[in-house]
């Protein structure tokens, strides 16, 4: 990965469901598959627990990218949670794009508990994308800036 602007280190929030993606991230860890430290993971029981407000909050507080990972469609531990999540995020991301938070700053990925490689690949490509987009300035609360 080429980091052009060394001084810019993005803040990236990753919401991972407990049953698939969080376990996938654990597998990436125990397999020593690296991805940039800019990614910080928040554990939620299911991708359907992710309230769009959380994502707006993250951008407001200065996040440069937010990614949400869940079980593959059809494999949700709670049967249908990821379908709700997918619909919600599609709407939210298009709205965010409309107000200037580019589509590249938001992403939904399905990562199973067995896909450590996919988790690390996903995070690497997402972080690379955020580096190419640079700092997010559109939704930030000015009071939160240093």
């Amino acid at each position: 990965m080429s980091i052009e602007n060394k001084s810019f280190r993005p803040k990236i929030v990753a919401f991972c469901c407990n049953w698939c993606s969080y376990a996938g991230a654990d597998l990436a860890g125990s397999s020593r598959l690296s991805y940039p430290a800019d990614v910080k993971i928040i554990r939620v029981p299911c991708s359907c627990r992710v309230n769009p407000m959380f994502i707006l909050r993250a951008f407001e507080k200065g996040a440069d990218g937010v990614i949400m990972c869940g079980c593959h469609p059809g494999d949700c531990h709670y049967s249908t949670g990821n379908f709700y999540a997918r619909r919600r995020m599609t709407l939210l991301f298009s709205m965010l794009d409309y107000i200037g938070v580019e589509n590249g700053r938001t992403r939904v990925e399905w990562v199973s508990a067995a896909e450590g490689v996919k988790f690390s690949d996903t995070m690497n490509s997402f972080v690379e994308k955020i580096y190419s987009l640079g700092e997010n300035v559109r939704l930030g609360d000015l009071r939160c800036r240093n």
Binding site: G29, Y35, K40, R49, A63, D75, C76, S112
Partner: protein, 662 residues
Amino acid sequence: MQRIGVFVCHCGSNIAATVDVSKVAEMALMEPGVVHAEDYQYMCSEAGQAKIADAIHEKKLTGIVVCSCSPRMHEATFRKAAERAGLNPYMVEIANIREHCSWIHKDMEEATKKAVILMRAAVAKVNLNTPLQPGESRVTKRALIIGGGIAGIQTALDIADAGYEVDIVEKTPSIGGRMSQLDKTFPTLDCSACILTPKMVEASAHEKIKIYTYSEVENVSGFVGDFTVDIRKKARSVDMDKCTGCGVCQEKCPSKKAPSEFNRGLNNRSAIYTPFAQAIPNVPVIDREACIKFKTGKCGICSKVCQAGAIDYEQKDEIITEKYGAIVVATGFDTINLDKYDEYAYSQSKDVITSLELERVMNAAGPTHGHLERLSDGKAPKEMVFIQCVGSRCSDDRGKPYCSKICCMYTAKHAMLIRDKYPDVNVTVFYIDVRTPGKNFDEFYRRAVEQYGVNYIKGQVGKVIPQPNGKLLVQGSDLLDNRQILKEADMVVLATAIEPNPDVRKIATMLTASIDTNNFLTEAHAKLRPVESPTAGIFLSGVCQGPKDIPETVAQAGAAAVKAIGLLAKDKLMTNPCTAHSDELLCNGCSTCENVCPYGAITYEDKEVNDHGIREVRRLAVVNSALCQGCGACTVACPSGAMDLQGFSNRQIIAEVDAICR
């Protein structure tokens, strides 16, 4: 204000080598609410847990953050430790600084920075934690086994012997599974039927075991301890109570053109059939696709010849609904379809067969009555070639990326048996690697080479070329001699890759058990919880979890049984207290949450509320915490923000977001 203690684990050098643990502890003291912070070599050890207990007492802690490995690993450990010290276990949060930090980063400064942030997020969350009380749920003391092969039979026997009721659901007309199709077993060469049949009989005679054959699981609801399962008993067209198993119907059936599933399609069976002589139950089924009576309305011979009057053409599928406390998946495997490997001429020549087909050819009850002969012309072969790794270890999209594990050993077995019974037959095995880890396994393979003179050639085969004279030309590599070989053979046997039974995906979805990219069921932990699914109450037995041979399958079946027994032995289970609850003053009774709840846990009640002095009766959402599984779908769907999830509340998650973006 909480009084929080932060405990940073070195995990030997696993964390401490990349994260400055003392720095993390030092930074923790600057966080709001933190009154105590320390680091220690192994927090999960007895001494480490004692440190937590001591700090709880001395510093009067109300909340704990452990910066260590994944919560999926030791959250339960630390919660129990806190509980023993008198703290509510749900006041403990884990910051995952091993799997999500030290193991994936190399730069100490970066990793330490990230660990601090993860610690802060956990502290921010604990500041908002509240003590939670788990509820209780009952345990139905009966287990369901899906699949009646050796794995399912062994698990059923072990659970039943412990005194619990067990039901086996088997899709085919008989229990026995793949093992019943095998001729001999490695590495002792004892006959498969001789060791399996007694177990089948034992299972069917066991007073605690009920067997549903020709049946499939149709629907599963509920949760650990209290599953409700619909089982479809397919119409057998034969009354199980009346049938005496005399077999006359099969003999007289005029429709004998249906390919025998048991003999892998190498010969045909009648439309009314039992798959094999030792079938349990020894009651035939009518294959309605092949039956003349069902196709044309005429015939009815089986009904006429049946003295017991057991034939029932009107029989219909039956749905049985039953409650279970534990479910064991034992769905087994099949060999892969060879359509994508036509270079081995499987579809072009009858004399190219799979190893499982060879088992049937070698078996006295098989299509050739146990005589080794070519299926094209019935002639005895003189040259046999075995090809290993057909479809295994393939990273292209034709085959499977994994090693099927059993092929090296059964090929050595086949080679040895053939050389023993037919010393004039030459046997050549093309292999990539011979993998024989297992007790007496390598000795077995060496015997095939040294004692029986089986010719092992290191190299894969590129193409099998049928010749006009009926022979097969095998074009392969000899990598050790560095030459290309053209070998004429009479029969070619393909060690075909195995894959999980294709039905397993459907079953996993019903059970919400996770499954990997190869359709093997995932274990709760690859090393420490190998027979449990991450979904509570679901256990794994046999090849549905990964390739294994018979002894390994039997061992795993026993282990799965013990885990199921451990569950069934409990009278009550603690339920997860991280459930949804609704704020009465915010709820407007709109029913949105009810619609998204997958468990039917939300109902509505008319209730009097006191809204800032205004007393009125309102329609309000009520969550049944025994049914709620805590997914959180309702919390997001709720338009008024009344619904929240305990343990993962809106405020807690937002606090984590804030801490990370700070």
